[in-house]
């Protein structure tokens, strides 16, 4: 089970992404973070903390559950209906630059669902995509604006992002199924 990112590296990576956000958006005016449940929310929260630390200003942060927008819903031959969790975006996204955050970018289908969901909340000025890991194998024309680490994988492998808040430690590992 090779670890491709340890806790130190994850910390530095997120700090780097925070600086990239500031560089690209020339500050954090009209910028808001929206994390995709579950681990994207934790990463968004950490980025918000970094941005606050650097600029001294708070960044509005929300949580998005994409379950009801999934394209494989109701198409399962067998299997439980995925659990629906709460979406909490306690601010208007109209004319904001929304930074969408997820842990792993893979087929792109989650992001497609998240884009649809976001548009139902309003009309953001712009949506940018932040992922901790890009593992390739896209099935939709979607590309991340900020990538923590590109991890080339085979389809037989799975990428596990562990975060202290949920899993007790910070690390990214690739496992062979």
């Amino acid at each position: 089970m090779p670890v491709v990112m340890d806790a130190d590296r994850m910390g530095r990576t997120l700090t780097r992404i925070a600086h990239e956000i500031l560089e690209r958006n020339r500050g954090i005016e009209n910028v808001a973070l929206v994390g995709i449940r579950t681990r994207g929310v934790i990463i968004a929260r950490r980025l918000a903390h970094s941005l606050h630390h650097i600029t001294g200003e708070p960044v509005p942060t929300g949580a998005l559950d994409i379950t009801l927008y999934r394209d494989d819903l109701m198409r399962h031959p067998v299997g439980p209906q995925p659990l629906v969790r709460k979406t909490e975006i306690p601010f208007s996204i109209d004319n904001q630059k929304i930074l969408l955050v997820d842990d792993v970018l893979y087929t792109g289908r989650t992001i497609r669902a998240a884009l649809d969901a976001l548009i139902d909340f309003g009309r953001p000025k712009e949506i940018q995509l932040i992922v901790l890991v890009d593992r390739g194998h896209r099935e939709l024309p979607i590309k991340a604006d900020y990538v923590g680490k590109n991890v080339p994988t085979s389809l037989k492998e799975s990428v596990h992002v562990r975060l202290t808040e949920i899993d007790g430690s910070d690390e990214v590992a690739v496992e062979h199924d």
Binding site: E57, M74, L83, K86, D120
Partner: protein, 339 residues
Amino acid sequence: MSGSRKSTGATKWRWNMIEQQVPAVPAVSTLRHKDLLGIADLTPDEILLILDTAEAMREIGYRPIKKVPTLRGKTVVNLFFENSTRTRTSFEIAEKRLSADTLNIAAATSSVSKGETLVDTALNLEAMAPDMIVLRHASSGACHLLSRICRAGIINAGDGMHEHPTQALLDAFTIREHKKRIAGLKVAIVGDLLHSRVLRSNVQLLTKLGADVWVSGPPTLMPPGIEREGVRPTTNVEEAVDGADVVMLLRVQLERMQGTFFPSLREYFAVFGMTRERLKLAKSDVIIMHPGPMNRGVEIASEVADGPYSVILEQVANGVAVRMAVLYLLAGAEHEAAA
């Protein structure tokens, strides 16, 4: 954002707004049946799954665009053989918010008035391949009958004097929202117990989740053997209301009464009507519930119905979220059954 530039504590208030902790994974993540016929068939874990899912669904009602694509391409038939405003509208809104195609059939405008039987009506609808049928019928067991002959999932929207499961679920949702729990609460259910399907569903649900349920009404409207359902029956309404966390009133269903069950509506109100005076016996943070439609001045005084403890309109609002949860979960369960 301006005006909140304090350098300390700023992240704290913001993050309190969204769930800090990862919510506990529910014990079950799916329902076992394609139908929701009654609370009797549900396990406590399944009830909690529906309530938790409803929590998530409720937020959709606050959005500028109150619609998600989840049930796109699914057809839901609302088949109502009894009059209904609240339940039918609530189901229809829930279906539309999930993007299902809905059609409403009311008995008065259908071939039922030409003498068609329930089974024939259902088989004809079934031939048009709906995914779910929401049924309200005056006969207890009508939904069970349909569930045996239809491939479509059947949701009971009230069958005779048997069950009205989504009402009990939305009641539980409303109670949990106010009291943060259901186990250990004293719930007094007062009114026409005999004819009430809301009572039967609520008793099932509340006892399954560990509430202390008291039921009260005139002896003539007390269902025989009710004490075997794990509730405490009393004809003394004060005893039931004393120290209650929740007081739920049931409508006196004159349309189902053949014969005389009490001398007059006026006397009923005098003995069982929920007045401000009687309510003083309950806990100071009591909530007042009523499944509607209300008979003001019969089972409930207007000042109580419109008073500060009343959550009656919240019940109606929560009904949509609860029914969305049921539709969503059953739509998934159906596929499991088919595989």
